[in-house]
Symmetry: C2
DNA sequence: CCAGGATAGATGAGCTGTCAACAATTTCGT
DNA sequence: ACGAAATTGTTGACAGCTCATCTATCCTGG
C-alpha cells in the first residue's frame, strides 16, 4: 500500500509491541521484587549473579560489561557503588596493566545466595510457568538468532 | 534432584538468559540510534508514538502510563520535560476533575513523523529481518500469554 | 626502540528514574 | 448526605545512567 516509508505489517507491529510491553511489565515487577526481598537493585543482582556463576567469582571488567550488555561507563559506576558497599572488589590484572578483575566478596556471595532463591521463584511464577518448555526453547532460539544477527550488523 | 531451592532447569535458564541479553542488546542499539537520528530519547519517541496512534492524539495520563507499563511518577516527569520542550501538552479532563489528557502538539507530530521511518527501518533491520513471520507470531503469542498470566498474579 | 594509535577503565556533569509523601478530587458504605 | 477510602496526578530528594573526556597501558609499523 504505502511505498516510501515501508511500515511494519500489522502482524509485525503487533509482535513488536507485545514483546516490548511484556518485557517492560515483567522487568518492572521483578526489579521491584528484588528491591523488596533483598537490599539490592536488579543491577546489583545481575552483576553478582554473573560473577558468582563464573569460575572463582572473578571476571575481567569489560567481559562483565559485555555479558550483561552494558556500556563500560555504566558498569564502572555500578562497580564503584557496589565496591563501596563491600559487595565486590577490584583486583589488578597481572597480564594487562590497564585491566581489572571484578571479584565477588564474601559479603557479595552471601547477598546473592540469600536473594537468589526467592528471585528465581518470582521468575518462575511470573514467566516460566506461563509457558511450555517448547515455547521456552523457541524463545531461546529466537533470542540467540537475534543476538547473532545483530552481531553481524554494522552499528 | 535439588529439593529445597527449586532452581531452573538448564534449558529454562538458557532461555531466560538469552531473552534478557537479547533485549538488552537490542534496546541499547535502538535507543542510541533514536538519539542519533532525531533529537529525542527513546522515552520521548514511545510517548509520542502512543499518543499519535490514538484517536485525536489524546490519551488520559494514567492510560498512557499503563500503555507503556511505566510508573505514574516516571510518566509525570517525562510529560513535564516533554511539555517544556513543546512536544506535548496537558489538557484538563471534563469528566474527572483530577484527571488530565496528554495531547501531542503539532511540534510533537512533526517530531515523530520525522523520526518514525528511520526508527522503523532500524527495528526491521535489527530484529524483524532476523526472524520468520512464524517466529514473530510465536513471539507475539508468548508475549501476550505472559502479560495475561502476570495480570492474574498477585503483586 | 619509539611515536602514534588502540584499548582498559575512571571520572564528572547533567539528565532520567524511583520512592515516598502530598494535594485534590471522586466513590462508596452506611 | 457525610466521612473514609480510593483514585488521579504532582513534587522533591536521591540514586542511577549517559556522554564526553581523561589517564594509563599496550600494540604496531618503521
Amino acid at each position: 500500500m504505502n511505498a516510501t516509508p515501508r511500515w511494519l505489517t500489522s502482524e509485525q507491529k503487533a509482535a513488536w509491541d507485545s514483546f516490548i510491553r511484556m518485557h517492560e511489565k515483567l522487568m518492572g515487577r521483578l526489579t521491584r521484587q528484588v528491591r523488596a526481598d533483598s537490599h539490592m537493585s536488579a543491577a546489583d543482582y545481575i552483576v553478582l549473579a554473573k560473577l558468582t556463576e563464573a569460575g572463582g567469582g572473578r571476571i575481567r571488567f569489560l567481559d562483565l560489561a559485555k555479558l550483561v550488555e552494558w556500556e563500560k561507563s555504566r558498569m564502572s559506576h555500578q562497580v564503584g557503588r557496589m565496591a563501596k558497599r563491600g559487595l565486590v572488589a577490584r583486583e589488578e590484572c597481572p597480564e594487562d596493566g590497564r585491566g581489572a578483575f571484578i571479584v565477588a566478596t564474601p559479603a557479595g556471595y552471601q547477598a546473592i545466595e540469600e536473594a537468589a532463591p526467592v528471585h528465581v521463584e518470582h521468575v518462575r511464577r511470573l514467566f516460566i510457568d506461563a509457558l511450555t518448555q517448547e515455547e521456552l526453547d523457541t524463545l531461546a532460539r529466537i533470542s540467540d538468532r537475534v543476538i547473532a544477527h545483530m552481531e553481524k550488523q554494522p552499528d
